[in-house]
């Protein structure tokens, strides 16, 4: 299976470390993996499994978390474009966190495939970015969360179909 992994951090934060561990396991099990993540500078690690495309955020100064996440969509698209046209496309996208969830949904709309979203918690509708997290969750096919409380929040606050939410002990 060809899996595109989108993660803001790749190894630096708890969610980024989780992404790194998951990628190692997927590779061990014989899957082809391409990772796109935010980096200080653009770089490519090709020719082995996983392929990694680091993309730098073009706009450096932000007003809030929303402007940071959404202005990065074009940077994500630069990496996804490489994954599609140079790495050769994907069967599924696995996004870590809501900020990677948005480009994952866009990638699915453009190229098809299924989207799995791992969240390390649920921000809720009152949070300034909660609307975007809900959007990413509602448009994903499978969502992995670390607790039953997070699942309850997804289902009750965001209106996400409970059958696509899975509680995984190490999801966060």
């Amino acid at each position: 299976m060809k899996i595109l992994v989108l993660t803001w951090d790749y190894g630096e934060t708890p969610l980024g470390k989780k992404a790194l561990r998951d990628v190692d396991k997927l590779v061990e099990r014989g899957h082809q993996v391409c990772v796109v993540h935010m980096a200080v500078l653009d770089y490519e690690k090709t020719g082995s499994n996983p392929t990694v495309y680091g993309v730098a955020q073009s706009v450096k100064e932000h007003v809030n978390e929303v402007t940071s996440a959404i202005s990065a969509l074009g940077d994500w698209a630069r990496g996804i474009s490489k994954a599609v046209y140079e790495w050769g496309g994907f069967d599924a996208v696995h996004a870590y966190g809501w900020r990677a969830g948005l480009p994952a949904v866009m990638a699915k709309m453009a190229f098809g495939g299924t989207v799995m979203l791992t969240l390390d918690g649920v921000k809720g509708v009152e949070d300034p970015v909660g609307g975007f997290e809900r959007y990413a969750a509602k448009n994903s096919d499978v969502i992995l969360v670390p607790s039953r409380e997070a699942k309850r929040a997804l289902v009750e606050e965001y209106g996400v179909n409970r059958r696509k939410v899975w509680v995984m002990g190490d999801a966060g």
Binding site: V63, T67, I70, G74, I80, S81, Y85, G131
Partner: protein, 395 residues
């Protein structure tokens, strides 16, 4: 050729000159056989999807949940704009993506990379120019978005030599990446009936200002010039069309004069009313301190009216002093008052400037002329694109 035009403004959402520009350009391109889709932001008085004069217009959501401020709202609608573009264009992507200003940058750049299609950008003004520099975090963000959009663009279009210098300085672009194409107007032909009497007495000359009531457009300069004119003659009425923070301030100042009836602040008025005002005014005055292009001058000229403009930015390039209008130093109320008095007292000069201005609009600033030049740029970009290897094919 299929073109996807991205703009946050499109009629009936008219905030500044952008909506009319995208509308005029899209219609003209469509009449030349280009398949144009305009993707814009919803408006309560417009359908979500329609075909207008051959142009397909698609309006995306703008507000699915609250945004704390304008900048967050802009980023929010980009997500819905992108969703709409992917929903409607993924199966048959456009040949060219043409974005107008930074407000659609996330959508434009994302589509460019996902579709691997060339992106053209028109920069109508810059944050640096609008504010005379970059000082706050918000301005740095917007400036960054503008830089990014021009960096990602295959070519950048600006409306004047003044704007070309500004984008080269602001974004460090190579000069040969930037094309200068003027704005254009659809000739205004207003209805004269009943309008004049609503604004002025028969014996009064009407001096018209049209623009946002903000310092950069100079209504405060015209107000000072008007006081000088009115001190010398009483047969002039000054009409300020437009809204903005200076409207209330100037209104208060006018009421504090002994002749408040000589000033009329209309606020925003519908297009039809504006056309009629252009038709009945004696001259139009645009005393901007900063002006990337100055489409209002073209509107007045297309109505056959003489214009007085400040010698700044795009106005300097549009108006030929003494031939198609009069130029004055920006911010100089005394010189402006002299120019107004010269025209008010000289109907023959008003007529000759007005006629020459109208001819210039037809020859240089019609949508047919400008869209033809845009089409040439599209073709040149597609030709380069076809020869390159950056394409939507898997290796």
């Amino acid at each position: 050729m299929r073109v996807l035009m991205l703009s946050w403004e499109y009629p009936p959402r008219i905030v500044g000159g952008l909506a009319r520009h995208v509308d005029g350009l899209s219609r003209a391109l469509s009449s030349m056989g280009v398949e144009v889709t305009v993707l814009t932001v919803e408006h309560p008085e417009a359908p979500r999807s329609e075909v207008v004069n051959g142009v397909r217009v698609v309006r995306c959501d703008s507000f699915r949940f609250p945004s704390p401020d304008f900048i967050s709202w802009v980023h929010q609608f980009n997500v819905w704009m992108l969703e709409e573009a992917l929903r409607t264009s993924s199966e048959r992507p456009p040949d060219i993506i043409h974005a107008h200003d930074w407000l659609v940058a996330p959508t434009a750049i994302t589509l460019k990379h996902l579709f691997r299609r060339p992106l053209l950008v028109t920069i109508h003004s810059t944050e640096v120019g609008r504010h005379g520099g970059i000082r706050s975090k918000l301005q740095r963000h917007i400036h960054g978005m503008e830089w990014w959009l021009t960096f990602e663009a295959w070519r950048v279009i600006v409306c004047s030599s003044f704007m070309k210098r500004e984008v080269l300085d602001a974004f460090g672009l190579p000069g040969d990446k930037v094309d200068i194409l003027p704005n254009a107007v659809t000739p205004l032909r207003g209805d004269l009936r009943d309008v004049r009497g609503r604004y002025a007495e028969d014996w009064e000359h009407i001096v018209l200002f049209v623009g946002r009531m903000v310092p950069e457009k100079g209504p405060q300069v015209l107000f000072e010039a008007a006081k000088r004119v009115l001190a010398r003659r009483g047969d002039v009425k000054f009409i300020f069309v437009g809204d903005g923070p200076l409207r209330e301030e100037l209104l208060r100042k006018a009421e504090a004069t002994s002749i408040p009836e000589k000033f009329y602040f209309t606020g925003f008025i519908p297009d039809e009313e504006l056309k009629s005002l252009y038709a009945v005014c004696d001259l139009a005055v645009f005393p901007s301190l900063y002006e990337p292009f100055g489409i209002v001058a073209l509107e007045a000229m297309s109505a056959g009216k003489p214009v007085v403009v400040s010698d700044v930015g795009g106005f300097s390039e549009i108006v030929e002093d003494g031939v198609t209008g009069l130029k004055v130093r920006p911010g100089d109320a005394e010189q402006l008052s002299s120019a107004i008095e010269l025209l008010v007292g000289n109907p023959e000069l008003r007529r000759s400037l007005g006629e020459a201005g109208m001819r210039a609009v037809g020859e240089r600033f019609s949508w047919k002329v400008v869209a033809g030049r845009v089409l040439k740029i599209y073709r040149a970009v597609l030709s380069e694109y076809e020869r390159g290897d950056w394409k939507p094919v898997t290796s």
